[in-house]
């Protein structure tokens, strides 16, 4: 029993004890795993202070969201009293219903779902295609093109809004969803992300083997790359979805209140002179809920994905 519990514990155990148990354990897979945690500086076990600081950070992160819920479930007088309320009130459903109507959130949600869904799908597809090419295929100008992809990350979208707006008006896409969707169909970060993943996770031999078997590039992509790339594709999908759902500047310019996405619709709530704070918070809560739900379910994967896409020192 005790020997069974050792490897489980060592994953979280302080390095010193890990080394000790490592010595006494028989050679083999288990002890090798133990030796991977030598007493190096950064493997210190977190002390109480670290937990306190992390707790404060978590509170700082989560409190505004919690308070959104508190305010959304109160009426306006309760929200605006001093000291402010810290516990949820009884009006959550009323307020959500009212905000839903006032900000036309039904239509906005559907619009956001379409926009974010299409953008995420196309970004993932094109990023995987391009990422595969950059990671595993040899072609002239590959490095220059890759540098260009990375370089495009430095061009802020703001710089093109004026002509983009004129283009969209000319195309007759003003106030239409395609005006939001088309400019963001691809993402340089996505291409870079998939390239990083595929250079490591996809063995060259597998691509070679496909070639020897007479498969053309698209076939290799379909049968070999896609199955391997599924996990990062899921992560990229979620990250892109979050970005597209939250995108504000361009949708705010090109869409109007008759056909908004969620962030655009939310501005409607605070724009009036008579302001019902609890209603505003109810709207904010509604606009955030879909993504919060996604975070609660897939939080671990999203976190892992962002860390994987990071530039490693």
């Amino acid at each position: 029993m005790t020997t069974d519990s050792i490897p489980v514990r060592t994953a979280d155990a302080p390095p010193k004890s890990a080394r000790k148990t490592g010595k006494s354990a028989p050679p083999g897979g288990r002890s090798r795993q133990l030796f991977r945690h030598p007493g190096a500086g950064r493997q210190h076990h977190a002390g109480p202070l670290a937990y306190i600081l992390l707790g404060i950070a978590a509170l700082f992160s989560l409190f505004p969201l919690y308070w959104t819920m508190v305010a959304a479930s109160s009426d306006n007088t309760r929200v605006t009293q001093t000291p402010p309320p810290f516990l949820p009130g009884p009006h959550l459903l009323d307020n959500l219903g009212k905000a839903w109507q006032d900000a036309a959130l039904g239509k906005a949600m559907l619009n956001s779902l379409i926009v974010a869904g299409v953008i995420a799908l196309s970004t993932v597809l094109f990023a995987t295609l391009a990422g595969f090419a950059f990671a595993k295929l040899r072609f002239k100008g590959r490095n220059i093109l890759l540098m260009l992809v990375i370089g495009t990350m430095l061009v802020p979208p703001q710089l093109g809004v004026v002509p983009l707006f004129m283009m969209m008006t000319e195309l007759g896409w003003g106030q239409q969803l395609p005006a939001v969707i088309f400019p963001t169909l691809v993402s340089a970060v996505g291409v870079f992300f998939m390239r990083q993943y595929l250079s490591e996770a996809l063995p060259d031999e597998l691509v070679e083997a496909g070639r020897v078997d007479g498969a053309h590039s698209l076939r290799i992509f379909w049968s070999i790359v896609l199955p391997i790339a599924r996990p990062p594709m899921a992560v990229l999908f979620m990250i892109t979805f979050v970005h597209a759902w939250n995108d504000f500047f361009w949708p705010f310019i090109v869409l109007d209140m008759s056909n908004p996405t969620v962030p655009v619709a939310l501005t409607q709530l605070s724009a009036g002179y008579v302001r019902d704070q609890s209603l505003i918070m109810a709207g904010a809560l509604l606009g955030t809920l879909p993504l919060l739900a996604m975070f609660i379910v897939f939080g671990r994967q999203i976190v892992g994905g962002i860390m994987q896409g990071a530039v490693k020192g």
Binding site: D12, G39, L53, V79, V155, P156, P163, F182, F249
Partner: protein
């Protein structure tokens, strides 16, 4: 798109049906030709969608912006462009609002980026400990990233409210009088920076954490043997070890800071949003661009602001490079 390049030659050049009739050698030759075409052409087809979309919706507009900025274009008549040369630029140069917006963008940028990255560094360091519930802390740190500018700005606007806001209430507990966060310039800029900090600190922390985990462990051992304290290890091993990630986040946050738009707009609560407060006290370049184009209907002037933003970014990167080089020489 990708399919057509690899399969269309299949049908096009072959007058004979693909199978059966051709001689073995001919078929072989055609197959190698096809194979060659596939090997050399497919990569371009795979990367093409990215470049096509980027060229059409980012690069072309970027160039076209400069052309528009030399014209007088009104929002109501977008197809009428009247050549005015550099008038928009000289007007911008003489416009106090521009210098005000430039300065605001800079101060809010510093107020939001510097604490954000410092806190992210500390948070990443903490998350790098052997930790119980590490997933919870990581997800919690990243949650603000999932909220939209709209929702986040609405909540914080309320927390920073002058009369009943929670932050003024907490300040009153320690004996500080109500602060008018909307109308006091520095208070407003601090409040807006807080929204940015709140949304992005966790994200940056995770980038740092990923880089920290890639630092070879023996460097810490060597430092420990040399008698370095934990703090010294942090300064001499961790920070240099993730330097490229730090540069990466500085670049990204700088770009983000020059673009700042939604937070001040919503913080202004409607009528005062676009002008960045009654006295433009927190109007950023992004807001000025919007004001010129979509409130004053002068698209040419808006395009000029866009170019000013681009120039600002270029200047910032040059400065950053120079600083980096100077620092590298010192080290």
């Amino acid at each position: 798109m990708a399919i057509s390049t690899s399969t269309s030659p299949d049908g096009a050049p072959g007058t004979a049906p693909p199978d059966g009739t051709g001689t073995g050698a001919e078929r072989q030759r055609r197959r190698t030709l096809l194979h060659r075409l596939d090997v050399h052409g497919a990569p371009y087809a795979f990367v093409a969608p990215f470049f096509v979309v980027f060229a059409a919706f980012s690069f072309y507009p970027l160039i076209y912006t400069s052309w528009i900025s030399l014209h007088r274009v009104e929002l109501s008549t977008l197809n009428v462009m009247e050549w005015v040369g550099f008038d928009n630029y000289t007007a911008l140069w003489e416009d106090d609002r521009f210098w005000n917006a430039l300065l605001n963008t800079f101060t809010i940028g510093v107020l939001s980026t510097v604490p954000q990255l410092m806190m992210a560094l500390g948070l990443a360091h903490l998350l790098n400990y052997q930790l119980r519930g590490s997933t919870f802390f990581r997800v919690a740190a990243l949650t603000p990233y999932a909220t939209s500018v709209g929702a986040a700005a609405l909540v914080f606007t309320m927390l920073f409210e002058r009369d009943f806001g929670m932050i003024n209430w907490m300040l009153s507990l320690v004996g500080i009088d109500n602060i008018d966060f909307e109308n006091n310039k520095w208070a407003a800029q601090t409040a807006i920076s807080t929204i940015v900090i709140w949304r992005w600190t966790g994200y940056n922390a995770l980038l740092y954490l990923a880089a920290m985990q890639a630092i070879p462990r023996d460097r810490y051992e060597a430092a420990a043997i040399d008698g370095a304290s934990r703090w010294q290890q942090f300064l001499k091993v961790t920070v240099p070890g993730i330097r490229s990630t730090i540069v990466f986040t500085i670049v990204l946050s700088t770009i983000g800071a020059t673009q700042l738009f939604g937070e001040p707009l919503i913080f202004g609560q409607g009528p005062n949003g676009i002008t960045g407060g009654a006295d433009n006290q927190y109007q950023t370049l992004g807001l000025l661009l919007y004001e010129e184009g979509w409130k004053n209907y002068q698209m040419g002037r808006a395009a000029t602001v866009a170019w000013a933003m681009f120039l600002l970014l270029i200047v910032l990167f040059v400065v950053q490079r120079v600083v980096k080089r100077v620092l590298a020489r010192k080290a």
